[in-house]
Amino acid sequence: MGRANVTALIVFGIIILVLPFVLTSPYYLRVMNFAGIFSLVCIGLSLLLGYAGQISIGQAGFFAIGAYSSGILCAAFGQSAWVGLVVGLVVNSLVAFLVGIPTLKLRGHYLAMATLGIGEIIHIVALADTEELTRLIAWIGENAGYAPEAVSRVLQPYKALTGGPSGFGEIPTINIGSWVVSTPVEWFYFIWFVVFIAMLLSLNLIHSRIGRALRAIHGDEEAARAMGMNTLPLKLGIFVISACLASIAGSLYAHYVTFISPVTFSINESILFVVMVAVGGMMSVWGALVGTLIMTILPETLRVFQDYDILIYGLILLLIMMFMPDGVVGLVQSFFGRGREKTG
């Protein structure tokens, strides 16, 4: 990684260390903590979308799998947070792998369609007792020779696990050794430490043969193949990594909020992640970070406009997309004359 990125990482680290001394209000810290969690999802999406050129509109689904794995294993089965985290990662990797194999072979928007679908399926599974799902399972049960009552009896414990549409709470917090992460400041340092590591690893990855390979696929997949690149494993790898980052974010979310419900993991959230990456700038993982911060902090600051906040919010988004097609970071980079070179 170039000198610019090392400097940026150091500045980023210092800001993380200093910020809680400046932002003393628990409310601001809470906003920043959410921004940190979401930026993990967006860093993964930026690697997938901005570098490899593959779009996913289902990141909220992977986010949900992480959150529910941690939530259920810790709240209902008393497992440690680390078990929940690892199970979430394993399940997410498997799902991403299985969805990715058929769809990443194809060109065009198949991955967008497939991830849209998988995100919705995960959302419905989390809702658990939406009418469609119950009816579907009852129908399958009946056709398999089971009475509908027996089916719903079997489903009862499952509903109790996810809590259905109303979700469930009492998820314990994370403890690292004897340190129990509890105050907003402790959470801030913990979450942003994870974000920092994610940024460091992502920047390493981008400035390696893997990162260059992903950009080559984005630039011209046919040429990449002709230059000896087996593109499917690379696309699959980065898709799984993006799902894993969303999974870690989901686990953190579950332990931080201590309560989860399906509303948080709807398709709107998936689209919001894509918007965050686009606003910040897809050409760089820093864009994911900046975009997430803007999109998390903006709605909070616009509250002073009361009923007009949504209008102003929309207007700002429109202006950013019209006048900064490369996002905020893209604009800053071209301002410093580095727009042409890819700095990551």
Binding site: L201, S202, N204, L205, S208, R209, I210, G211, R212, A213, R215, A216, H218, G219, D220, E222, A223, A224, R225, A226, M227, G228, M229, N230, T231, G237, I238, I241, M283, R340, E341, K342
Partner: protein, 245 residues
């Protein structure tokens, strides 16, 4: 090879001698690019065989063909967008290195040394085509003739045994074409077999050891440049049949 019922390429059988320069010529739509696409695995063939150094490589995926030693350039330049000239060539050296996601993300020594070797070798190939000074420019911002040379450097960086050049002189001015002729000789002298598709007849007749002529997906002639220039079927294919009034 068929495209929706149209025979794009049929019964073309030819062989190319090692360390030679072979040109494939023919009118537009003769199936020249299709032939290169079939050899390099860009499109799967429906019938026939591609044998390369005694090995059956028919139906190989493009990356497998590249590994086997078949490199190519594209008629309509296909350089990687948003990448420098050097990075474009570096991509071809990936095939010679192995560090994966894990070692790259953690910047393990293996990925560091890979990166160093990739860079050094790529610079060698850029120097070979005379573009050492253009290494850090955005490839797509450079003039057309330069981009054609980057494509060649990128193909050579695979360390191929044969390189397929699809209209390398297309869009070049006479001086650039002269430079290209010199470069193609240099490539052959490195021990690499060159196959090129070209419309520039003076270039073809100048540099080729052997010429294959296609028309309507069929091979109509094959021989040395002198033989081809005298061949009646070739003259008819290019100029039409002479009619006596």
């Amino acid at each position: 090879m068929k495209f929706g019922g149209v025979m794009a390429l049929g019964n073309v059988s030819t062989s190319v001698a090692e360390h030679s320069i072979t040109a494939i010529i023919g009118p537009n739509g003769a199936g020249k690019t299709t032939l290169i696409n079939v050899i390099s695995g860009a499109i799967p063939q429906t019938k026939g065989k591609v044998r390369f150094q005694g090995r059956d490589v028919s139906g190989f995926a493009p990356h497998k063909a590249a590994e086997a030693g078949i490199a190519r350039t594209f008629q309509n330049l296909r350089l990687f967008k948003h990448m420098s000239t050097l990075e474009n060539v570096m991509v071809s050296r990936h095939i010679k290195t192995t560090s994966g996601f894990f070692s790259c993300a953690l910047k393990l020594p293996s990925s560091r040394s890979d990166e160093k070797i990739i860079r050094e070798k790529a610079i060698e190939f850029l120097d070979f085509v005379g573009l050492g000074d253009k290494a850090n420019f955005d490839a797509l911002s450079l003039p057309f003739g330069v981009q054609r040379h980057i494509e060649i450097a990128r193909a050579l960086a695979l360390d191929p045994k044969v390189v397929l050049l699809d209209e390398p002189a297309g869009g070049l001015n006479p001086q650039e074409t002269d430079g290209l002729a010199t470069l193609i000789h240099k490539i052959r002298d490195k021990g690499i077999t060159v196959v090129l598709i070209e419309h520039d007849m003076s270039l073809v007749m100048n540099i080729s050891d052997s010429v294959v002529v296609l028309n309507y997906g069929q091979k109509i002639a094959e021989g040395t440049p002198e033989e081809i220039q005298r061949n009646q079927a070739v003259i008819e294919a290019y100029l039409g049949k002479e009619t006596v009034h």
